[in-house]
Each structure stands twice: as structure tokens, then as C-alpha cells.
Amino acid sequence: MSDLTTAVTTAEPPPSTQAGPGSERSASLWADAGRELIRNPVFVVSSLYILVMASFAVVPKLWTQQDPQACNLNNSMLPMFTPGHWAGASQRGCDYWSHAVYGASPSLRIALLATLGIILIGMPLGILAGFYGGWVDAVISRLIDIVFALPFLLGALVILAMLRKYSIWTITLVLVVLGWTTLARIMRASVISAKSLDYVQAAKSLGASNSRLMFRHILPNAIAPVFVVATIALGGFVATEATLTFLGVGLQLPSVSWGLMISTHDDFIELAPHLTLVPVTLLVGTVLSFILIGDALRDALDPKLR
């Protein structure tokens, strides 16, 4: 399995290298898509938003000097625009802006790791099922059906509640175990439709080996939908992580995360609405941006729309 996945990741570059800087009229799918995306204001704005959120997660010091764990109960639920705490302070008297900044990290890390996880599991299984068909496909498709039959959030709830160890890693693991099926299905369908194309048949008749067919010919042309699904999945995982936290089976206090910020302050919404609305805005903005990027990618990668 491991050498397969490395092969998958190394197989990704070719389409983009074809569109090198030297070629004047490069007409590769990815170059065209890239050119179209740059001109798409929705894509640009969403990407910038995600970049800002990513910098929240990676270099929080850039955005705030305060320590999110340095709390003073005298400051409990300060209103917005208080000097020194422009986003107010939490119920426990911690600076709320620093919470908002540091809270990006767990959400985005879980989303990124879980998305990488579903790609690592879903993509090879989807390729194998689509390429070989027959009993391989039958076995993998049954497996997909079985995992898919567990309602995603409900399954995650039960397993995490049984495990009672709530960390970034356990949450990610559960999300991956239950969440890879959609990606595998998309990959399988995409490989099946690419497999029957003429150039693949031509390569086959020239005696190309199965692995060459899979990774050099089929994969580069079948991978576009996977990128779209993976981008949207990033947003979905951010939302799921926050939901699990809200239900009490995600990260626990004193961790700092958007989900926790909402679940600890939603009862005070009348007194201090900003304590709920600040994390809600950041959270919804992130999910929305990922979905919009995914939509823009889908449009850009579909040559039929041009």
C-alpha cells in the first residue's frame, strides 16, 4: 500500500510541468484552469481568506501578542473594543482576539490531516476498483457501501464517546475512518470513464504495463474531481470538528478552538453576543471559502464549460 501511495503522489506533477513557463500556448487542463482561477474574484477572495486563516494557525504571534491562556477573571465577558482587548474577553476573562487567532489551529490542522488521510485511503482504493473492475471492484465497492452506511456524524460521535480520548489525532483518525468513501467513489467513477478513452486503449495496445497505464495515463486525467472533492471536504471537516466539539466529544477545555469558543459562550448570547458571533463568523467564513474554492476549481477544471 505504501509504495502505491508514494507513486500516486509522485504521479501528480506531470500535468503541471507540461505547462512550463517556456511554452507560449500551453493548453494543458491545469494551466488553463490556473489562468481562469486567477481571474475569478470569488476564488481569489476565498483563497486570501484561507491564507489569512492559515497564517492564524501557523504564526499566531503575527496577529496577536496576547497569550490565550493568560486569563483574568476580572475581565470576564468584556464588551468589544475595550482598550487592549478589541474583541472583548471570554467568560473566563481571556483575551478573545487571541482565542480567535489561536483557535484556528486545531480546526485547520484536523481538517488538513483528515483530508490527507481520506486521499491516502480513498484514492488508491478508488483507482484499484476502477482500473481492475471484477472482483477487486466488487470487494472495494462492498466495503465502501458498508462504511457509507454508518451516518458520518453519528458514527464519529459514538466512537469518540467510547474512546473518551479527545485529541487532534483521535478526532482526525475517526473522521478519516468514516469519511474516505465519497472520495473513493468519485475516484473510481473518474477512473472508469478515463479507462475507456482512446488514448488509454492506444497506450495499452503499445504494451504499456498496468502501473504505467494507471499512473501515467489515467491518473493525471482522472484526478481533477478528486481535488474538487478534497477541497470541499476540507470545509466539511472544519464544520464537523466544530460540531463534535459542541456536542462534547471534540477538543476539551482548556484547549483553544472555535468550536469550544461557541459552545462555552452560546448561553450568554443575550449579554455578550460578540462572544458567539466572532467565532461563528470565522468558522462559517472558513467553511464557505473552502466550498467556494472547490466550486471554482470544479468550474475551471471542466473543459466542457469553456
Binding site: 452506511a149 474512546l163 473518551r164 452560546d266 466550486d295
Partner: protein, 337 residues
């Protein structure tokens, strides 16, 4: 059709067994790595070993395989299957000490009512918004629907539930009652912050709408794209060429065919509703299945969760099977695949 039904039923049995095994295996692994969940009932106290052993036994978690990391617990799985299919026994809840089946029998009516409201909301708003957007492709209303659906997809259900409860249920409801002197059923029932037993139906409407927003967007988008696809079809052009009124072309010819794929999302909706009900019922205190799950998590009683989830998964699978069969009835291409 008969052959399709038989084939589908034959596929159904291994899927049910497989899914139950997956649920069993994942929770067993979780117990193996997380330790005995019964212990969490005692909080910080160390329970007397005899009492702990007895309670663990009672919850069906006494099997020694649950202490061996990575064990498949096949025997325990067989036992559980026997309990489920022969004795209809899904375990016990602790407080109050009852069978899970009895707990569910009490809770299920609320959840069914809630889900039906959500479903009606989804169907009415989702279908009409999707049809509108499909017919006015590229026009203003199309953009409105597309933007609204993207926004709806990106708001997690717990956020919409909390915001609806606090702003519509509490603030708007209070304003109605105190400032306008609205009748009790309107101010506390329809726009209430929580489920009220004295208004068993009206106070379920707001949570039902919140639950419905979970799937409105996907229904609207699917209706739109499938309508767009069908409007280009030859038979629509023929109908137009024959001089039929456009309401008939759209309403009778196109829409009927466009709604077939929408039926499949019903199956997916059911799964989304089951998860979404945990959040909505938890927030609005509707005493349904979702609230039972919500409370079980809060009280550290995960053993009930397994029983309830098993029942829900079985319901989900059966409903999905029915939706698949319905799909085959509606679309002949499926059954002759």
C-alpha cells in the same frame, strides 16, 4: 423488477452484517484503547472492583476481548447479533435503568415528527428554489438561489440551531409576548426557545425548520442541475414544438423526469437528519432520539449510544433500501442495468 428486487435484497444482507460489524469493531477498538467506559460513570471516584465488574457485565462489556488491543471480538459480535435479531435486545440504559428499546419507543415519535417537518420544509423550499433557479438560469433569481444554498451549506447545523434558538426563539419570541402581547401559543409555542409539552406540534416547527435547512441546499442544487439538463432534452423540444403551453412542458414533462434523481437524495437526507437531530434536539430540548444521544454523551453513558446507534443504522439501511426500490420503480433504466 422482480429480479432487481431480489438482487438488491441479496446485497442488503451482507451490507447490514458488514455495517453492524464495522460499528462493533470500531467501538470495541475504542474501548480497548480508551479503557472501560463504565468507569466514567463514577467520575473521579474509584469504584469498588466488585461493583464495577457487575456493572460492566450488565452492559455486556465484560468480555475479556475488550481488554486485548486489536482483538476483533468475533464472539462478542456473534452474541450481539443474537441479542439483536433473536431477542430484540439492544442493551440497557443506566439512569433510568431501562431497556434501550423502551427508551427508543418513547423517544421515536418526537424524532419522527421532527423529521417529517424537516422533510416537508426541505421538499417545499428546496424543490421550489431549485425549480426557480433552473428555469431562470443565469438570471438574478438563479444567482440568489445559488448564493443562498452555498451559504446554507457552510453554516454547520449547531450554529444555525443555536442562532435560531437564541435570536428567533428567545429574542423574537420574548418581543412578541411582552411588547405585542401575542398569544401564548405564538410567543412561547411557535417562537419558543425549547420544546414545550403543552404545544406538542407547534413548538416542533422551529427545530424542524432548522433541521430542514441541513438538506434544503443540496435538494435545491440537485433539482436545478437536473432540471437544466432535462430542459435541453429532445422530448422537451418536441413538446414545445407541438405547441404545448410552457407550464405544461415544465410542470408535467420536464419536472417529473427531473425529480427522479432528487429521490435518491432522500436516502442521504435520512442519514443527515439522524446526525442533525442529535444537535437540533439537544439544543431545543426535544425529548427525541437525538436528545437521548445528546444526554447520554453528557452523562458519560456511552453504552446506550451503541444500542441506539445500532437501531438507527438498521432503520437507515432499511429506509435506504426502500428509497433504492422506489428509484427503480420511477426510473426503468436502473432496474435493467
Amino acid at each position: 423488477m422482480g429480479r432487481y428486487v431480489v438482487r438488491r435484497l441479496l446485497q442488503f444482507i451482507p451490507t447490514v452484517l458488514g455495517t453492524l460489524f464495522l460499528l462493533h469493531y470500531l467501538t470495541s477498538v475504542a474501548i480497548q484503547f480508551g479503557g472501560n467506559p463504565v468507569r466514567s460513570l463514577f467520575g473521579d471516584r474509584t469504584p469498588p472492583p466488585e461493583q464495577l465488574r457487575q456493572m460492566t457485565e450488565q452492559f455486556g462489556l465484560g468480555d475479556p476481548c475488550l481488554t486485548r488491543k486489536g482483538d476483533w471480538c468475533i464472539e462478542l459480535f456473534g452474541q450481539r447479533l443474537q441479542n439483536i435479531f433473536l431477542h430484540f435486545d439492544f442493551g440497557q440504559s443506566l439512569s433510568p435503568r431501562r431497556d434501550v428499546t423502551a427508551v427508543l419507543a418513547d423517544a421515536l415519535p418526537y424524532t419522527i415528527k421532527l423529521t417529517l417537518i424537516a422533510f416537508v420544509v426541505e421538499a417545499i423550499i428546496g424543490l421550489s428554489a431549485g425549480t426557480l433557479a433552473g428555469l431562470r438560469n443565469g438570471k438574478f433569481s438563479d444567482y440568489v438561489v445559488r448564493i443562498a444554498t452555498v451559504l446554507m451549506i457552510s453554516v454547520p447545523i449547531f450554529v444555525s440551531a443555536v442562532l435560531a434558538q437564541k435570536f428567533i426563539g428567545v429574542k423574537f419570541g420574548n418581543w412578541l409576548r411582552t411588547d405585542l402581547g401575542a398569544p401564548d401559543w405564538l410567543g412561547r409555542g411557535l417562537f419558543g426557545a425549547a420544546y414545550k409539552p403543552e404545544y406538542p406540534f407547534i413548538s416542533l416547527i422551529l427545530p424542524g425548520i432548522v433541521l430542514g435547512t441541513l438538506t434544503i441546499a443540496s435538494t435545491a442544487r440537485l433539482t436545478r442541475s437536473s432540471l437544466l439538463e432535462n430542459l435541453r432534452a429532445d422530448y422537451v423540444r418536441t413538446a414545445k414544438a407541438k405547441g404545448l403551453k410552457s407550464t405544461r412542458v415544465v410542470g408535467v414533462h420536464t419536472l417529473r423526469n427531473s425529480l427522479i434523481p432528487v429521490v435518491t437524495t432522500l436516502g442521504l437526507s435520512i442519514g443527515a437528519y439522524m446526525s442533525g437531530a442529535v444537535v437540533t434536539e439537544g439544543v431545543f430540548r426535544v425529548p427525541g432520539v437525538g436528545f437521548t444521544i445528546f444526554r447520554a454523551i453528557g452523562q458519560g453513558e456511552p453504552m446506550v449510544l451503541l444500542g441506539i446507534t445500532t437501531v438507527l443504522v438498521l432503520i437507515y439501511l432499511v429506509l435506504n433500501l426502500l428509497v433504492d426500490l422506489l428509484y427503480a420503480v420511477l426510473d426503468p433504466r436502473i432496474r435493467y442495468e
